[in-house]
Symmetry: C2
Subunit: 446 residues, 2 copies
């Protein structure tokens, strides 16, 4: 048991501010929490039941101490409501906005003090809370037509910003990537990124952690937690507030100084914590790390059926620090004996528009021991590329546990074959540059 | 009339190598060319008609001189077939592969010579040919389930690589962006990028030209044509073969030396021809330039309803050279009098999750004269953002002819509102970084 199981895997949840009206936030949250796999206690002063679920007039009336209370009431009411939680809740998600971010620092400090005095851990205020699909825990006050939830999976998403959490979850859902945890900690009067990292380090459901940050409270504590998590599983950090423009913006958004980005970045590098440059790179790297383990080395081999896409992939590999050594002479000779003379056996290996699926496997087997990872480009506009390529590449991965990513433009059968590949644990990207960035995420691993 | 109207707007088209079998390339091309709005003459030695369309035994049997002949026969047959075109065709698209790219340089030179002697312009060989949706001209041997065609629009796509043309057309179709011309010139024994640029400079259907290049035949001629086209309309060039890895790959793909990239890039800059860094940036810039005219200056204002997205946009703007000056004091005072006190009136202007649609318009009107372009972030997870925002932003654009782009994450109603915006001439991007790159494309314009 980890202390934060009360937040991520509670046995019982209360919703203070439940409403029968689905047009209200408390009505949306009611509907989302109703699916929770555990005890659910809606709380509202004037409602007997909602859709047959009994409603309690106060948190004090609930016949047990709940693990988690989700509070959705206007900011000025929060101190009194939180005081009523004495002995009745172990952890509270304070969703309400209207605290430090709107200048109400006194109110925020009061809430923090009450939580400390009562021994109640607090997430927020000004946050979306927690999403844990294995338990169907979903504290978001957003209907599914405003925010599509990803399926259950192995990526944990931690975000200081609610909007960024939404964007990341949407993008992962769109990419078919499952999520283990989603959490937005907002103003962080108590629980902050380091507490969450500490939980994720031991969370068997989470294979990869991605974290969006604008500012860090206690720098030393942050770095220690990030380092400890990074030793257990990949942690990808997207830090906003890089340029002067962004730093000013981050300050006005959170009231915390973003700090000099160069300092942050150099500390991260020093401690082996991975930063990504932007939203796209975060998604590209997550996609790869959710499916495959990293390997050692930086030598990549590109195998393509489309010369132009191979050139763009080679450009990007060079640009991001991957090496593209030539195919060794003996492997070239063996390939020369089985392939038509116009296949180009450099790196990229260009199997041209004449390729057949099985030739990818033949080429990969010949170069297997000479490289650390592989980038396969399979443009499905080429007639010889069929859905059969997916099991062939999965077979190669079973023979050779090195990173392998695929660039498969979405057109034609590309979408379908991409899904087959991903079921088999091979990430598929729609452009050569994204595929190269995915491969780098795997080859950066120690 | 431009000499290349015979390629892009022919009145009559022959297909040499037509087949009744849709499993064959000649059958796919027959089906695609059948929709052509003009005279269509399929040619095949042994077939009387295909689906009721009379078939000619030889190009010589066609009762007129056709503007364009599309030739889909094996490479070794091409010299003889081309010789039969004497007096019967003005231009030929030689689709067939198996020339210089597979080492058959002698065969390629012979074809070039025959074309010159007969006065027949040649596109290819080893190319997909031409797509001109206004005339329903489609010489591609790819069925629509292998390559989805974009709708008719104002973007011309010119690609040395067939696979890249396919990827670009697919991505534009996916983004709902229409295309005026799509052309892949392959081995370029006659018609090359400069000829096509010259045509596009005067082509009223094309507002923006995008061009994928691996190598350039005659450098001086290329630069002159690119410069002349750039003076008429935006030309975006994606040059592959940037790093050492990519240059080696480009050479093996085309047999032409890519040349030192730094030299190419500096020449392009010197002559005001725009290069883009990768596939994504090409799409981002195209999207913006297809909808709006460029403006002068580099001062951008970001208006957001989500602090975190505003910070990422500000970071990217700083990184790519846009300036983000603070909102002038007098505009701040006027906005302060109409907005709640917790709205942050920096740059980004953060209207927070409490925003209502009309407040975007109010803010834009106040800052209108102080900036050169605007980046509006409207996260639709926020309740006050509704489809009404689209006509409000379109109204602002009608009052102020400056560049305006929107970041609207695809979740929830985002996709629908994004389409409404684009119908009104405002490009919508799903991440803040892509939106910033779109805005830069508009502000780079002179």
């Amino acid at each position: 048991m980890h202390p934060l199981d009360i937040l991520f895997s509670p046995r019982s949840v209360a919703l203070v501010g439940a409403s029968p009206d689905e047009g209200k936030l408390g009505g949306v949250a009611f509907r989302n929490l109703r699916a929770f796999r555990g005890k659910f206690y809606p709380v509202a002063p004037t409602v007997g039941d909602i859709d047959g679920v009994p409603v309690f007039r106060s948190i004090a009336d609930i016949p047990e101490t709940v693990d988690l209370s989700v509070i959705l009431r206007p900011a000025p009411e929060i101190p009194a409501i939180l005081a009523e939680h004495a002995g009745k809740a172990r952890c509270a998600v304070i969703v309400s906005a209207g605290f430090a971010e709107t200048g109400q620092t006194g109110l925020q400090e009061e809430v923090a003090r009450i939580g400390r005095e009562l021994g109640i851990r607090i997430l927020g205020p000004n946050c979306l809370g927690v999403f844990s699909p294995a338990r169907r825990l979903d504290t978001f006050f957003l209907p599914t037509d405003r925010l599509k939830r990803p399926k259950q999976g192995n990526v944990a998403v931690v975000s200081q910003s609610g909007a960024l959490l939404m964007c990341l979850l949407e993008a992962l859902a769109e990419a078919g990537q499952g999520v283990s945890r989603g959490v937005n900690y907002g103003n962080a009067v108590d629980l902050d990124a380091p507490d969450i990292y500490d939980y994720l380090a031991g969370d068997a459901q989470s294979r990869v952690a991605v974290s969006y940050l604008e500012s860090v409270g206690d720098g030393r504590r942050y770095v220690e937690a990030a380092r400890a998590l990074s030793r257990k599983k990949p942690l990808l950090v997207l830090k906003a507030g890089k340029g002067e423009g962004g730093q000013t913006a981050a300050y006005s958004h959170t009231g915390r100084l973003a700090g000099r980005y160069e300092v942050f970045s150099s500390v991260m590098r020093q401690f082996g914590i991975r930063e990504v440059g932007d939203f796209d790179e975060l998604l590209d790297a997550t996609h790869a790390l959710a499916m495959q383990s990293g390997g050692a080395g930086k030598r990549a081999c590109i195998i393509t059926d489309a010369g132009g896409l191979g050139v763009l992939a080679a450009d990007e590999c060079s640009c991001i620090g991957l090496e593209l050594p030539a195919v060794p002479e003996d492997a070239q000779q063996r390939l020369r004996s089985i392939f038509p003379p116009f296949y180009a056996l450099g790196n990229p290996v260009d199997l041209t528009g004449q390729v057949r699926d099985d030739q990818y496997l033949a080429a990969l087997r010949e170069v297997r021991d000479s490289y650390d990872g592989f980038l396969v480009i399979a443009h499905t506009g080429v007639a010889g590329v069929t859905p059969r390529i997916a099991p062939l590449l999965v077979q190669f991965r079973s023979e050779c546990d090195k990173p392998l990513v695929v660039c498969m433009p979405k057109g034609g059968i590309g979408g379908k074959v991409g899904r087959l590949l991903e079921k088999g644990g091979i990430p598929a990207y729609s452009t050569p540059e994204h595929a190269a960035r995915g491969l780098r995420a795997l080859l950066q691993c120690e």
